[in-house]
């Protein structure tokens, strides 16, 4: 019974960190935003989103707090910490390297 994983492990972390770099958000909003921005290409399932959020929180890259949304519901809002921002930098760089490398291979080979 493998868990559904639409995204490569690690890539999801990057997407979450990037999304939260804009503004703090709760889990559902993060998933929604990734979906919208990617024009419905990237579907983040709950099964991978929440474990990822918890993992990032444990690493100290995210900070969670309970607050109320504009519609009045309570939600656990995640925000990037300073360490999380640095981590985002690192992951962006390595992603750039990786994707350009892949692109090169696809073009040239």
């Amino acid at each position: 019974m493998s868990r559904p994983s639409d995204l490569i492990q690690g890539t999801l972390d990057l997407l979450i960190l990037r999304t939260l770099a804009r503004e703090p958000a709760h889990g559902w909003a993060i998933a929604r935003r990734i979906q919208q921005v990617s024009r419905e290409v990237l579907q983040v399932t709950q099964g991978s989103l929440y474990p990822a959020l918890h993992r990032l929180e444990q690493q100290g890259w995210l900070e969670a707090s309970w607050s109320r949304t504009e519609t009045g519901r309570e939600a656990k809002v995640y925000a990037l910490t300073a360490a999380g921002r640095r981590q985002l930098e690192r992951e962006m760089q390595s992603w750039d390297r990786l994707s350009s490398a892949i692109r090169m291979v696809l073009k040239e080979a």
Binding site: R3, G27, R32, Y50, P51, H54, Q58, T71, R73, A83
Partner: protein, 778 residues
């Protein structure tokens, strides 16, 4: 750094505030669902349908929650706690399994622990001293002992911070309130306590200055055991007097209870006596090897440096004293640890064999338990399959089954410790019929704990890994249906392998044990060349009065009187009796025989015996005559040789009437030839032997009296003879045993005056070579 702290904080929170964290998770997932529903409603869906749709999209809430828990990584600990609880409950429900498994593992683990502790005590224990890591054993030449002048020279040279000498001696008689008791003293040089720095519980130790030889010191420190047993634990013992060998000695202190003496091997001397001229007649003789050396390194001096420094000094000193043995420093090794054992290979090998046997026993036990668990897993297949169906991963199930194994292994190990405690107290209570006190304490220390933990882990894996893997591999559906399924008819199954292995190992052990017993049995039924059963031996030590002189007439008198005791058929005096600790000398000499021009080197065993000796032991006379009372001091020097001696040196011709010259001593005439018999141990081949009649021997003050009772089961006669020897004046300190019994027990340390001893067990178990190492020939 802060990241790690963060991580730790989160993990701890997850671990200890489980409820809060769980509530948090629940709230979060609920909020997510609510948001999803809200969105769908906003898009125009009916609330009820929106809710169903959202749930469908979300999938299994429980699974997501479980994944989040996994991320927190503490689920392992929580699962372990739950598994432990479950395992205990389910095992308690099956008491037969629990008892069987605990007992098997307990026996295996107990054997391992006990043997390890024994080996650690014998091989690795550190003697009680201050900063024992600085102490080194020093040996020169081939022997273990050096002369007192050599010790004095080495100590004065300043090669090390200090060098002390000690010698485990025999034959110190203490005139107690009711009887005279033979004590085992550690005769030490004056600076012993200054150098070694053993702690003193009561009073003080003697200093190098007050125990100087020139002051003729009569000082001693007593062991805790002696103080308790013999002096009644008298609190004012320091300063009191004891009469030892007829002279007053002053007790200056009492050592603590758990002292490990520098002599090692669990030897527990009764008293530590400062060397003086009366105790050590050879004090000024550079040839008389009387002390073993222990030195303290200077701070910062390595063992290598210490050895180098000693080598220079010893070479000079050897030249100066004319002592070739002293010139070469053969060993400078730290006390404690394997380095201290002189025959580390034989002793080590012995313990390795024991450990392997114990390991095999544990392996069998584990196989047993694994078999039980395997059987149990089969009956539980349905329950396991159900758990798999409910979403438990295989790893999770294996973890739970391993936990059961852990519980069994833990319980078994606790039982093993209990067995070891019993074995330890039995070991402590065994009193060997020996003149030397030995106590082997099993130490419960960190090393043992480490081993126990290792054994628990190993046992757990051995017992339950295979059953766990096998049980969780079972295909799900047939198990659920409780059908037997299409069982795999493989020829080699895990259980078969297990049984085969178990039988193989058991058989190996069984065969080994049988061979061992056969050997032992054969050894004890080997014909020693004389009649063993009716013979009794008493070792009598006379040290009251002047050294040695009155011993022979007194002993001869005792023998004469003993002959008159009812039930005693014959009695005799002897320097040694074969197969006991006191078996006579084994010596090499320049021999000259009449009729043979060239002197030659010969090695043979030598004994001094009185009239009646051969008759007592039942050694047959082949030619000539044996000794008579007429051969006593003053008569012509006569010897009796055995057949092996004749074969070897007289080329089989009759030696009667021929003369033997030992070195530069007066010639002796051969008057008789006796049959071969064994001497030192059961294994030894017939040895060339020569027996001289008892004459006045200056330094020898210990004699064996042996006697013969034709009907050994008549206890009364034996008792009366024993009582007679005990009570006869002058006060002897005999210990007598039927030779048969004596032999089977006589396997510990000989007195330091004799070379290494022993009989049956010594050849079976090289362990005993360890115990005799301290008294090796010099």
């Amino acid at each position: 750094m802060t990241r790690w702290l963060d991580l730790l904080r989160h993990r701890l929170r997850s671990l200890f505030r489980t409820a809060a964290v769980e509530r948090d998770l629940d709230r979060e997932l609920r909020a997510h669902l609510a948001a999803a529903v809200e969105e769908k409603v906003r898009a125009g869906m009916a609330p009820e349908q929106a809710r169903r749709e959202a749930l469908r999209e979300f999938g299994s809430v429980a699974e997501v929650a479980e994944a989040c828990r996994d991320v927190r990584r503490v689920s392992f600990v929580q699962n372990l706690a739950r598994d432990l609880k479950y395992a205990c409950r389910s095992l308690l429900a099956q008491p037969v399994l629990l008892v069987a498994a605990t007992t098997s593992i307990g026996l295996g683990v107990g054997a391992n622990l006990t043997i390890f502790a024994l080996a650690a005590e014998l091989l690795l224990s550190v003697p009680t001293a201050s900063r024992p890591e600085e102490l080194v054993h020093i040996r020169t030449g081939n022997g273990s002992h050096v002369s007192y002048p050599a010790w004095r020279g080495l100590d004065a040279s300043g090669a090390l911070a200090g060098i002390a000498g000690y010698d485990l001696a025999a034959g110190l008689n203490w005139r107690g309130p009711d009887e005279t008791v033979a004590l085992t003293p550690l005769i030490v040089t004056a600076n012993f306590f200054d150098v070694v720095g053993a702690p003193v519980a009561r009073g003080r130790a003697f200093s190098a200055d007050e125990a100087r030889i020139e002051r003729d010191p009569h000082l001693l420190v007593v062991s805790h055991g002696f103080w308790q047993r013999r002096l009644g634990g008298d609190p004012d013992v320091a300063g009191s007097r004891l009469i030892l060998n007829g002279r007053p000695y002053t007790v200056v202190g009492v050592l603590p209870a758990d002292v490990r003496s520098i002599a090692g091997y669990g030897l527990k001397p009764d008293v530590w006596v400062a060397a003086n001229r009366a105790l050590v007649p050879l004090l000024d003789d550079p040839k008389g090897r009387g002390v073993m050396l222990v030195g303290r390194r200077r701070s910062g001096q390595s063992v290598g440096q210490a050895r180098a420094a000693l080598a220079v000094v010893a070479a000079q000193l050897g030249e100066q004293l004319g002592d070739d043995e002293l010139k070469i420093v053969t060993r400078v090794s730290p006390v404690g640890g394997l380095g201290q054992v002189e025959e580390v290979q034989t002793v080590g090998a012995f313990f390795v064999v024991l450990m392997v046997v114990a390991g095999l026993v544990l392996a069998i036990a584990c196989a047993n338990v694994a078999g039980l668990l395997l059987a149990r897993a089969t009956t539980r297949r349905r329950a396991l399959a159900m758990r798999v169906a409910l979403g438990a991963s295989r790893g999770r199930l294996i973890q739970q089954l391993l936990t059961e194994g852990l519980v069994l292994a833990g319980a078994g190990t606790i039982f093993g410790f209990a067995l070891m405690a019993v074995a330890g107290s039995m070991l402590a209570r065994i009193s060997l019929p020996l003149p030397l006190p030995i106590a082997l304490g099993l130490a419960y220390d960190g090393r043992l704990l480490l081993l126990a933990i290792g054994l628990v882990v190993l046992t757990t894996l051995l017992c339950s890994l295979v059953p766990a893997l096998k049980a969780t591999r079972a295909s799900l559906v047939p198990s659920l249906k409780e059908a037997d399924g299409v069982s795999t008819h493989r020829r080699i199954t895990t259980r078969n392998l297990l049984v085969v292995g178990q039988v193989a190992v058991s058989l190996t052990l069984l065969v080994t044990a049988v061979i061992f017993l056969r050997n032992l049995e054969r050894a004890s039924s080997l014909d020693p060349g004389f009649d063993v059963d009716p013979v009794f031996v008493a070792q009598v030590t006379f040290v009251e009065g002047k050294q040695g002189t009155p011993a022979l007439p007194a002993a001869a008198l005792m023998v004469d009187r003993l002959r008159t005791v009812p039930g005693v058929r014959e009695a005799a005096l002897a320097g040694g009796v074969p197969l006991t600790l006191y078996f006579g000398d084994w010596s090499g000499n320049e021999l000259r025989l009449s009729g043979r021009a060239e002197p030659f080197h010969a090695e043979y065993s030598r004994n001094f015996v009185g009239p009646g000796y051969f008759e007592v032991l039942g050694i047959d006379l082949v030619a000539g005559r044996t000794f008579t009372t007429a051969d006593r001091a003053g008569g012509p020097r006569v010897v009796v040789v055995n057949q092996e001696f004749v074969r070897r040196y007289f080329e089989g011709r009759s030696p009667i009437g021929r003369q033997i010259v030992e070195g530069d001593r007066p010639p002796m005439e051969v008057v008789g030839v006796v049959a071969d018999s064994l001497y030192r141990s059961r294994k030894a081949r017939p040895r060339r032997s020569i027996s001289r009649t008892c004459r006045r021997i200056g330094t020898c003050h210990g004699w064996c009296i042996c006697w013969c009772e034709p009907t050994p089961r008549r206890l009364s006669a034996r008792r009366s003879a024993t009582r007679f020897v005990r009570s006869t004046t002058p006060p002897p300190s005999p210990w007598s045993r039927s030779l048969r019994r004596f032999r089977s027990h006589s396997c510990r340390v000989d007195s330091a005056r004799h070379c290494s001893a022993c009989s049956v067990l010594s050849e079976r178990c090289s362990l005993w070579s360890a115990s005799t190492a301290s008294s090796r020939s010099r």
